[in-house]
Amino acid sequence: MKSVTALVLCGLLAPNLPAMALEGDAERGKRVFNQCRSCHRLAGSPGSSFGPELGSIFGRVVGKQPGFEYYSDFFQSASFVWTPTLMDTWLKDPMSMYPASTMMSRGVPDPQSRADLIQYLKTVSTDH
């Protein structure tokens, strides 16, 4: 029983724990971000420009990047901003959270990987 408690504390048995409760590691997050690059890039780094550019994503209003014309109607008319918490919820299962979104992604189901990715995106938000 003790060992189970230890595992829970380590986050190993906590698949439903929100990633925001976990500490993210930007270096690991950079690796996680590689899977996003088939659609997204950050200014000055490799990747595809199929989807919107993601530097400085936090604090931006959803669906409003100038020059990107392919948002779903829902995102175009949305007025909320991207926050780390929203990003965490979104990336848990993007296609069920906003089924109308044009983003075809299974997200990042693992909470620690999600926390790492968000930490990385925070870092590049200050870099760019």
Partner: protein, 507 residues
């Protein structure tokens, strides 16, 4: 009779076993027709997948007079093709080549392509494609795929504003080895960023204009098989319910490769099992391959994949040297990224290091390669990096000795990139399949004839089953060094599959 039944059962179990091995562990990717109570819908041709292969197949089947239904598993059509750069390797003297003064011939294209696509399995496909490439490009343009008349003298697809470039490293390769450099990378371009979206947008519009039904959020679950082994339809989930859909003339599987199926990767491509950058849409889960295998189709090239080293974005990288874990060079640093990536992934244990001096480190940061050592001598770099004692120093000394003379006796790097590694500080960068930006996707799949017909291990066709694109083993083989060959294969052999299916059993 009993014995016959037993052997039939065994064969079925065998086929199911093979399917389970190849697929996602599911063996229920085919169902006997006798278990289908009634059809919810009947059409002539059903195309599974709405990427370039699927839509070209659908359009050509429609041209052949067939009623066509396209089933797309995801809510958005376009497959991996829509995410791509929209490059089709074409030549022989296409309208665009001629308009831009690029001299080419089918023979020259065949000579160049057969030099790099050496698999005997693809020889017939290479010959047919080179012979008909001019017509194929004209057909794509006829469908409305936009091209603009500008030549880009570079080895990477232009972001915008050009429709033809040198996609097979022609500008860097040794002229004596490759002959005349011919631009054959045809990039769809409508003035927006990236070629995949305009290409697939045009094909989708054309499909709808031709009366082709495209159903999204409609994952195909299994093929329906007649008692003679022929394919008579599919079962797909539409609106949350399993529907039985009859295809009077044929079913075309065109739903991508399997790079997003880690279980399949572990069996067929363990070198990529922990890859960080699957370079495809999320629909590439191997379902088409599994469905084909479930009805006895043969698979080929399952151990082959595209693996791209993240170096092309930086010219500086070609001036450095790449070494393996023994501190030895293993490839020319100015080779195509698909060749370097292949060598790293499949011959060097998935990892290598790039050494650069102070003259050529600019630009590497942008490539997001991890710096692991910085020092003023090669010896210090080596001691901090765990190479065998003296190995890196020996490699650099040998390289520098000949680089001064403009020679590379080991790998024939072109003289323009041959400069001695000299001038501190030196930097060592680590590249790996598992941690770097290192795009990969699979090249193995169902065995098809040049007609797009799927065949079994004995070479017999599976009646009324066709396939195209990355669900098949097509033109591209590893190492992947011809940009646009995958889409060339998907579009051209998608059309062959569509024509065959559209004409139906009589063919």
């Amino acid at each position: 009779m009993g014995k016959h039944r037993q052997s039939r059962l065994k064969r079925r179990q065998f086929v199911a076993g093979v399917a389970a091995y190849l697929g996602a562990g599911k063996a229920d990717t085919a169902v006997a027709n006798r278990h289908v109570a009634s059809w919810d819908l009947s059409t002539d041709v059903i195309v599974v997948g709405s990427g370039a292969a699927g839509l070209c197949a659908a359009l050509q089947a429609r041209e052949a007079g067939a009623e066509v239904l396209v089933l797309e598993a995801l809510p958005q059509p376009g497959g991996s093709s829509v995410l791509s750069a929209g490059v089709v390797y074409a030549g022989g003297g296409t309208a665009l080549q001629r308009a831009l003064g690029v001299a080419d011939s089918p023979q020259a294209m065949y000579t160049d392509l057969s030099r790099v696509v050496r698999s005997p399995l693809s020889a017939e496909k290479v010959a047919l494609y080179c012979d008909q490439s001019v017509e194929h490009f004209a057909w794509l343009a006829q469908q409305g795929v936009p091209y603009r008349g500008q030549l880009h003298r570079g080895h990477l697809p232009p972001d915008v504003g050009a429709s033809l470039y040198y996609s097979a490293n022609e500008l860097r390769a040794d002229p004596q080895e490759r002959g005349v450099a011919v631009a054959r990378g045809h990039v769809a371009d409508d003035g927006s960023n990236g070629g995949g979206r305009p290409m697939m947008g045009a094909l989708l519009s054309k499909a709808r204009a031709q009366g082709i039904a495209v159903r999204v959020s409609a994952p195909t679950q299994q093929l329906v098989v007649e008692s003679d082994g022929g394919i008579v339809g599919v079962q797909a989930t539409i609106g949350g319910a399993l529907k039985s859909l009859r295809a009077r003339r044929g079913v075309i599987l065109a739903c991508g490769g399997f790079v997003h199926n880690r279980a399949m990767l572990s069996r067929h491509l363990p070198q990529l099992q922990n890859c960080s950058t699957p370079w495809s849409g999320i629909g590439d889960t191997g379902t088409g391959i599994a469905m084909g295998a479930a009805v006895g189709a043969e698979t080929l090239q399952m151990e082959q994949a595209v693996a791209i080293a993240p170096l092309a974005t930086s010219e500086s990288a070609a001036y450095g040297i790449l070494v393996n874990e023994r501190g030895q060079r293993f490839v020319s640093e100015d080779a195509h990224d698909g060749k370097i990536g292949y060598d790293i992934a499949f011959r060097q244990g998935g990892k290598c290091w790039l050494l650069a001096d102070r003259h050529h480190i600019v630009g590497l940061r942008g490539a997001h390669i991890k710096e692991v050592a910085l020092a003023n001598t090669i010896g210090d770099i080596a001691s901090r990096s765990g190479f065998p004692r003296g190995a890196l120093q020996h490699t650099v000394a040998f390289y520098n000795k000949f680089a001064k003379l403009g020679e590379d006796p080991l790998f024939a790097k072109s003289s323009g990139f041959l400069k001695p590694i000299q001038g501190p500080p030196y930097r060592l960068f680590e590249l790996s399949v598992s941690d770097s930006f290192f795009p990969v996707y699979t090249l193995g799949g169902l065995h098809t004839r040049i007609t797009g017909e799927v065949v079994d291990t004995l070479g017999n066709k599976v009646p009324n089953l066709y396939a195209a694109g990355r669900t098949t083993a097509g033109l591209p083989a590893a190492p992947y060094v011809v940009g646009g060959l995958s889409l060339a294969d998907a579009t051209f052999f998608g059309r062959q599959a569509g024509r065959s299916a559209g004409l139906g059993r009589a063919s």
